[in-house]
Amino acid sequence: MPLTADVAAQQVQERLRALHRLVYDIEAERSHNEQCIDNILRAEKAAESPSNAEDSSGSSQQQAQLKNLYKAGLTAAEQEERLLRAALTRIYEIRAIKNERRMQARHAGNKETIGCGALMKMLLSAAQTLPLHVGRVGERAPPLCGAVPADAGHIAHPGDAVAALVRVSEKEENWILAEVVSWLPAQGKYEVDDIDEEQKNRHTLSKRRVVPLPLMRADPRTDEHALFPKGAVVMALYPQTTCFYRAVVNRLPSNAADPYEVLFEDSSYADGYSPPERVAQRYVIAIKEGKGRAT
């Protein structure tokens, strides 16, 4: 079904309305939660007060009451979490619709040529709005969250952003930012499009020449294990370009919205590395060693 601008706008409007309602619901739930916590605190205080400590029957009654309050609080908190996640889902849906719309327009061939500057802006905002992984307690970050690699059998979906190793000249190969067009199971190859439309090259590449980019951001406060450690050698998108180059992680993101700070290998500088550059999580990936290595 073609996703016209009008249809897309309508879908976005629906999501926005849902989001609007959710914001109110969340607020209601939040104040409800606050009330629960207040009740619990008050009950705890009452239970701890020495005057009632001797009265055992009163104490067990208090404990039962406290237990009920805890249960209610838990449910309320879960409810709030559900609402928050629902709101996030709506936001990601809007993001997906926008992306879908962009791809449709692109494939329809009626290229509203995106200028170079606009493309860069789009890439930046795509990285900033990449969904954040909010794990449940004890849950480990899933594949393609932050630095966690994809599963061995993972097949990227059409529209997914990938780093692709393409031959740019007789001698040179480059890791470029591309978008999956289709997966050809018979050949075990991907069809990918250069993200830079001006290049307008479609490449058919074997699986090992295609590295999917993270689908989620990892929060350094909860999932530090899902980030590259300092000193790791990675491939990172050079700022304001659509190419990945080898770099060393210099500083980790301090929060979920923060980018990495990396040093690019660059022989034109005396020490062989560029000054620190900031690169978003989405554009920092594990290096592929072996035959298809970037030069």
């Binding site: 706008a9 200028g115 500057g117 606009a118 700022p239």
Partner: protein, 813 residues
């Protein structure tokens, strides 16, 4: 000195005494009421009148002399001519001693006229000897010399009457000069320490014109005309003014520097303006054209005072409308003018002041800003740096915009788009009203305006939009900096230059570091630096050749991790505005293959419009690079260009919307084509006129001779048809041979069809012809793959076609 003068007086009076009798007294020059006592008698009515009559008398006297018999003319000239006898050094015939009697009126009357046989008192050779060389001269030349003789005598009389010692000396100088010219029969040329006019630029006349444009451009046509007339009146008075002698002035002004400056200017005025006004053998210059601010400042106050006094004294004699003009508008005009004359940085004295018609508001805005805020488009030394010489800060376009919005008149606060439309309004009465435009501008400036469905997705912003925003938020700054070998360069500038050097050497690896240092630190080169967080992240290094009127762009780079953010475009726009302010309107650069794209986007072209002689030998030549040229339009503020255009586009779109709403009506479709009519004139389509459509009036003018063009097109078509690569395109594609062709190609075209169309005069404009031809090639490339012969033929033939069109002068892309 006195002896010689006395000699002359006597001889001249004697030689033509009979003719000059009773005439000499009033054939005196205009000076009698003027130079010597001008302080007492301003250019009042009497002064003017007597001046006029004096000039008339002088002319009459010359006419009279010119009508003398030839021999008499020679007699007269002999008095001023050297004796032609070999080895005789006498340079003027003098009345013989015997006839010399005490000077008196009675004697003059009785004195007989001189004859060619009278011997010279000086050398004893006869008068004829003093005139032999004049015999063969043409009448015009003789008359010219005689005119000079009249002038010499008039100057002599003036000198005699002059009381001021310095002025007297000036007359004596001119007297001697003219005498020498008659003797040598040459044109008088005034040389020496006074210099040659013009003495100062801009001239007073130019400044006054600037003043009118600058102060009154916002006024409606009629009021503007009034101001213009007042300016003309002022200049007229000024040109005929008699300035007071420095000795008189000394009494009022105490500053000795002012006095000596005035003395020089006064002497210049005497020699070049005042005396030549009545002695037309001397080259004459208008005061207002050769003098500038210094003189106007020195005399303005007294001139104004006397002028107003005169106006008041004459008020009763003026016609009523003139009275209003002079008594109500003139004082205000003079007051405003005075402000500009004595202001330290008035734009009217700017030699680069751009003269535009008064209702050209785009420029008007520019001028407003130049002066009201003192920052717009004007090079201001940056506040912090001490050496304004090497560092120049540039302010952003958007701040300037605010400057205008504060302007007191609503008109100048409107965007140029509206202004442009209004200019059209003068010509065609049916233009949109200012109100409508203002409403539209209010709508499109509303931040909520762009909230359509598209706003959710990709917004197509101009390339430099983001950079402009950052500049507005003071996140980035632009400075023109350069090294100096003579003045001190502050540390900041030096650090920035080093930073720029690093940017250039990283971004332009094919240039050696040494070469970059050599140019970036060269005092003749300047660099427009883009500063972000205190560090240069990009810049354009350039060298201006003022004498050649262009700047060469040497390096241009933005550091790699800041690219594609619009900085390059914004840098170039700042550079353009900077150059327009400095009156340099051409850029040249050698672009390497990676830079050509960038320069094209910035309005550069490989087509060099500047004559080769202007730049050859001036700019550095690079092997393998392409010379590109960009001409600036001084009426454009480049840093605001995109936003102005966008606004104009929005306004036009809105106007179309409004018009469409007004005339919304559905007409039944045309049926005439079904009835076999091949074509109808466009204006016959019902409803079309109601939408405001007009037949393009220029169509005929642009295409003066359709037959000539037609012949040229026929010629090109013929050549294309005969080309070796034309065979696939000679006739329409046969569906039997290529069954699916017409499934893919919706608008087929071929050379035979074009021939038929040409015959039926379908190609009324050459673009139709070009469009059809291009269609052939695009169709071919669409249907066939690049490795086919067809595809290659299309490419070959297209090139050939374009070459032929260019040869025929029909290609203007």
């Amino acid at each position: 000195m006195s002896e010689e003068i006395n000699d002359i007086t006597m001889t001249s009076t004697e030689a033509d005494s009979s003719q000059t009798h009773g005439h000499e007294g009033n054939s005196n020059p205009a000076t009698e009421d003027t130079a010597s006592n001008s302080a007492a008698t301003p250019a009042g009515s009497e002064g003017q009148a007597s001046r006029q009559s004096n000039l008339q008398r002088i002319q009459q006297r010359k006419e009279q002399v010119f009508n003398w018999p030839h021999s008499k003319k020679l007699l007269k000239l002999a008095i001023y001519s050297a004796c032609q006898t070999p080895d005789c050094t006498c340079n003027g015939w003098k009345t013989p001693v015997t006839q010399q009697t005490p000077k008196s009126n009675t004697r003059q009357e009785t004195q007989p006229p001189a004859s060619f046989n009278d011997p010279c008192r000086n050398c004893n050779h006869i008068l004829e000897k003093h005139a032999t060389h004049l015999q063969g001269l043409p009448v015009t030349e003789v008359n010219r010399l005689l005119g000079a003789v009249v002038d010499v005598e008039n100057i002599f009389m003036s000198m005699h009457r002059e009381d001021d010692h310095d002025t007297k000396r000036v007359y004596y100088y001119l007297f001697k000069l003219l005498r020498k010219c008659i003797l040598t029969r040459t044109q008088p040329r005034i040389e020496g320490p006074l210099g040659q006019p013009p003495f100062e630029r801009p001239s007073i006349a130019k400044a006054i014109t600037n003043f009118v444009l600058y102060k009154f451009h916002t006024l409606p046509q009629r009021e503007w005309q009034t101001m213009y007339d007042l300016a003309k009146m002022f200049l007229h008075c000024f040109n005929h003014w008699n300035f007071e002698a420095p000795s008189v002035r000394k009494l009022q002004v105490s500053n000795p520097e002012d006095i000596s400056a005035y003395q020089i200017n006064f002497t210049r005025w005497l020699v070049f303006c005042h005396v030549p006004a009545f002695c037309d053998s001397l080259p004459h210059y208008e005061t207002s054209l050769v003098f500038g601010r210094t003189l106007l400042r020195a005399v303005f106050k007294s001139v104004c005072r006397q002028l107003m006094d005169k106006c008041h004294s004459e008020r009763d004699r003026m016609p009523p409308e003139k009275r209003v003009l002079v008594l109500t508008h003139f004082p205000r005009f003079l007051a405003l003018l005075e402000e500009e004359i004595f202001s330290a940085n008035s734009p009217i004295w700017d030699p680069d002041f751009k003269q535009m018609p008064p209702n050209h508001h785009l420029q008007a805005i520019l001028e407003n800003k130049t002066t009201r805020r003192g920052e717009f488009e004007r090079v201001t030394p940056s506040g912090e740096s001490k050496d304004g010489f090497t560092t120049v800060s540039l302010s952003s376009g958007s701040i300037k915009q605010e400057g205008v919005r504060d302007g007191k008149r609503g008109r100048s606060a409107e965007p140029p788009a509206g202004a442009k439309r209004r200019r059209v309004a003068d010509e065609a009465a049916d233009d949109v009203s200012e109100r409508t435009v203002a409403d539209i501008v209010a709508t499109i400036s509303d931040p909520n305006y762009m909230c359509g469905p598209d706003a959710l997705f990709q917004m197509q912003a101009p390339r430099d939009e983001a950079a402009k925003l950052e500049e507005q938020r003071k996140m980035i700054e632009f400075h023109v900096i350069g090294n100096s070998l003579t003045g001190a360069v502050n540390k900041q500038t030096m650090l920035w230059l080093i930073g720029l050097h690093n940017v250039f050497s990283h971004q332009l690896p094919e240039m050696t570091k040494e070469y970059i240092s050599q140019l970036v630190f060269d005092p003749k080169h300047k660099t427009l630096a883009l500063i972000k967080e205190g560090r240069p992240i990009g810049g354009i290094c350039f060298r201006t050749f003022h004498s050649q009127g262009f700047s060469e762009i040497v390096f241009c780079a933005v550091t790699s991790n800041e690219q594609v953010k619009g900085y390059g475009t914004h840098l170039m726009n700042h550079l353009k505005d900077y150059h327009i302010r400095n009156n340099i309107l051409h850029f040249l650069t050698f672009a390497d293959e990676f830079a050509i794209g960038y320069f094209k986007k910035q309005g550069f072209s490989k087509d060099i419009k500047l004559p080769r002689a202007m730049y050859q030998g001036y700019i550095k030549d690079y092997e393998g690079a392409t010379l590109m040229h960009c001409e600036l339009n001084p009426r454009i503020v480049y840093t605001q260009f995109t936003s102005v255009i966008r606004k104009q586009k929005e306004i036009v779109k809105k106007l179309i919307d409004m018009r469409q709403k007004e005339v919304r009506k559905i007409h039944p479709g045309l049926t005439c084509f079904k009835d076999g009519v091949r074509s109808i004139p466009v204006e016959c389509i019902p409803g079309l006129r109601d939408t405001g459509w007009r037949a393009a009036p220029r169509a005929a003018a642009a295409d003066p001779d359709p037959d000539a063009d037609l012949a040229a097109l026929r010629n090109v078509l013929h050549q294309v048809k005969n080309h070796a690569a034309a065979w696939p395109f000679l006739k329409p594609v046969d569906k039997a041979e290529v069954p699916d062709y017409y499934d893919h190609i919706k608008y087929p075209m071929d050379l035979r069809t074009m021939g038929e169309r040409l015959k039926s005069r379908y190609y009324v404009a050459k673009r139709l012809f070009i469009a059809d031809m291009t269609r052939i090639f695009t169709n071919c490339r669409l249907y066939n793959s690049p490795d086919t012969d067809y595809y290659r033929c299309a490419n070959t033939l297209e090139k050939y076609f374009q070459t032929k069109m260019k040869e025929a002068g029909l290609w203007d892309k």
